[in-house]
Assembly symmetry: C2
Homo-oligomer: 271 residues x 2
C-alpha cells in the first residue's frame, strides 16, 4: 500500500492567479484513484525553479512514492519544470537521444501532413529533450514535448505537459502500465446514498459505528440543499485487489447504514 | 510586499479522489490576485487532522503571511479543519461565545422563515463554535458555520466553509476588509496579446529583452492551436498601488513587444 502513495504537482502562474481552472488535477486524481492509488496531496506552484524543486523535495520527504508533475515542459522561457526537478534530485540536464528521436519522428509526421514547414531541431526545440540525467522520455502521442520518467531512489517522478490532451494521452499510454506494474491491479469502488428526515446529530454516532465495523470503507458526508433541511449525501469508497471484494465491502456498509437510518426514522435512497 | 504572500489550502477527500473539481481555489486565487495579493502556493489535503496541521505548519515555515483554508468547518465527524489548525498552532479548541451568538441569530432567522424547526444549540451544532483559542469568528451570511480568523505571530490564518456560496460570502464581507487593512489597496492589471506568424525560437529572446526592460511586468506565453502552427497567447500581468501605474506598465511592455514582433515579420492582436 505504501507503494501507492501519490502526490500531484501542477505548475503554472496561470493557476496561482486564478486565470485557469485546475482540471488537470481532478483528471489525474480520479484516474489514479480508479487505478487503486492513494492521492495524498495536490500542490500548485508558480513557474519558478526554486519553488518547483522545493515542492518535489518536500513530497519525497513526506513519503510519496509517485510524484506526478504537470505543466512547464514546453520550449518557452517560462517552462521550468525539468530544471526544477533536476535541481531537486541534484542531477544535470543532459540531451536525451531517445527524446530527440521521438521529437524528430513527430516533426516528420507533422511535416508530411503539411502542418509544419521545418522539421529541423533548433536549439530552442532541443530544450524539450534536455532531461535530468537518468530519465526516460515518454512518447507524446498528442504533441511535441515528451513526458519524463525519472526513478529517484524509491520514488517515481513523472513529468507531463500541461496541455490536457497531451497530459491525458501520455498518462493513459505510458504511465498507467508503469503504475500497474508497481502497485498491481487494484479496483476502486464507490457508492452514494441520499439521506433525508434525520438530523445530523443523530447521524454522526451511527456513521461512527458503521466505520468502526467496516474499517476499509471510508464514508464522507456532504450536506446538501438548504441548511437545516438535513438532506445529506453519504459517499462510500474503498479499493481492493479484486473488484468483487471492493463491491461487497461497500454493499455491506451501505446496508448497515440503511438499516440504522430506517430504524431511526430516516429515509435512504441510492443515487 | 512580504505582507501580501498568500497560500490557499483546500481540504476534503472529495478533491483528492477527483470527485470534485476545485473551483474554490480558482475563485480565491483570482480574488486575492485582484486585491494585489501574491498567491505563492495552493495545496489540497484529505480530511485528516495530522495532514491539515502539517500543511498549516509548512505554509508558516515557507513564509506565508496569509493562509486561507477552505472546507471542513461543518458539524459532521469528517469536518476536521479547526482541530488541524488548533494542533498546528498548539492551542486548545474552546467554545467561542461570539460564534455561538452568530449561530443562534442564524437559527432564529431560519426558524422564522420556517426552514428549521429547532433552534436549539445541540452539542453536535456547538462543534461549529469550538474555535482555536484566540480566534475571531467571521459572520457567515449564507450558512451556519462561521468563518474563523486566527492571528498567529505575524500570520493571518483564515478558515472558510467549503460550500462555495458560503465561502464567497464570508470572504467578500469579512476577509477583503482585513486584507485591505494589512496590504493596502493594490491593483492587479493584465492584458493578453495573440501572436502569430512568428516561430517560438525567435520570440523567446525578444520576450527576454522586454522582461529585462520591464522588471515589474510578468509575461507568460501560452502556445495555442495545433503544435508547430506558432499561435501563441502572451499574458502580461502586474500589480501596483495605483491602477494607472499598473495600466501604464502593461501598455508600455505590450507596445514594446508588438514593435519587436512586427519588426520580425510576426503579427500581434489584442484579445
Amino acid at each position: 500500500m505504501n507503494d501507492a502513495i501519490f502526490e500531484i504537482v501542477t505548475i503554472g502562474n496561470e493557476l496561482l492567479i486564478g486565470k485557469t481552472l485546475n482540471t488537470n488535477t481532478q483528471w489525474l486524481a480520479k484516474r489514479i484513484t480508479e487505478l487503486g492509488g492513494f492521492v495524498k496531496r495536490c500542490t500548485s506552484v508558480r513557474d519558478n525553479i526554486k519553488e518547483i524543486g522545493a515542492t518535489v523535495n518536500e513530497a519525497i520527504k513526506r513519503g510519496a512514492k509517485w510524484i506526478i508533475i504537470c505543466g512547464g515542459l514546453g520550449s518557452t522561457f517560462d517552462d521550468l519544470t525539468l530544471q526544477g526537478v533536476a535541481s531537486a534530485v541534484s542531477r544535470p540536464l543532459v540531451l536525451n537521444r531517445r527524446a530527440v528521436a521521438l521529437m524528430k519522428r513527430r516533426y516528420s509526421a507533422l511535416k508530411e501532413k503539411g502542418i509544419v514547414r521545418i522539421e529541423k531541431m533548433t536549439p530552442h526545440r532541443l530544450k524539450m529533450a534536455m532531461l535530468p540525467k537518468g530519465s526516460k522520455p515518454l512518447m507524446n502521442p498528442a504533441g511535441m514535448a515528451p513526458g519524463v520518467h525519472l526513478k529517484f531512489n524509491q520514488v517515481n517522478i513523472i513529468c507531463l505537459p500541461g496541455v490536457p490532451s497531451e497530459m491525458q494521452a501520455i498518462f493513459d499510454e505510458n504511465v498507467v502500465p508503469l503504475i500497474r506494474l508497481v502497485i498491481g491491479r487494484r479496483y476502486f469502488y464507490d457508492r452514494s446514498l441520499n439521506v433525508t428526515s434525520i438530523v445530523e446529530s443523530e447521524l454522526a454516532p451511527l456513521l461512527n459505528r458503521v466505520m468502526h465495523d467496516n474499517p476499509q470503507v471510508y464514508i464522507k458526508s456532504h450536506p446538501k440543499g438548504v441548511e437545516g433541511s438535513s438532506r445529506i449525501e453519504l459517499h462510500l469508497t474503498t479499493s481492493a485487489e479484486m473488484l468483487q471484494v471492493a463491491k461487497n465491502r461497500i454493499e455491506k456498509a451501505a446496508n448497515e447504514i440503511s438499516q440504522y437510518i430506517i430504524k431511526s426514522g430516516g429515509k435512504v435512497e441510492s443515487t
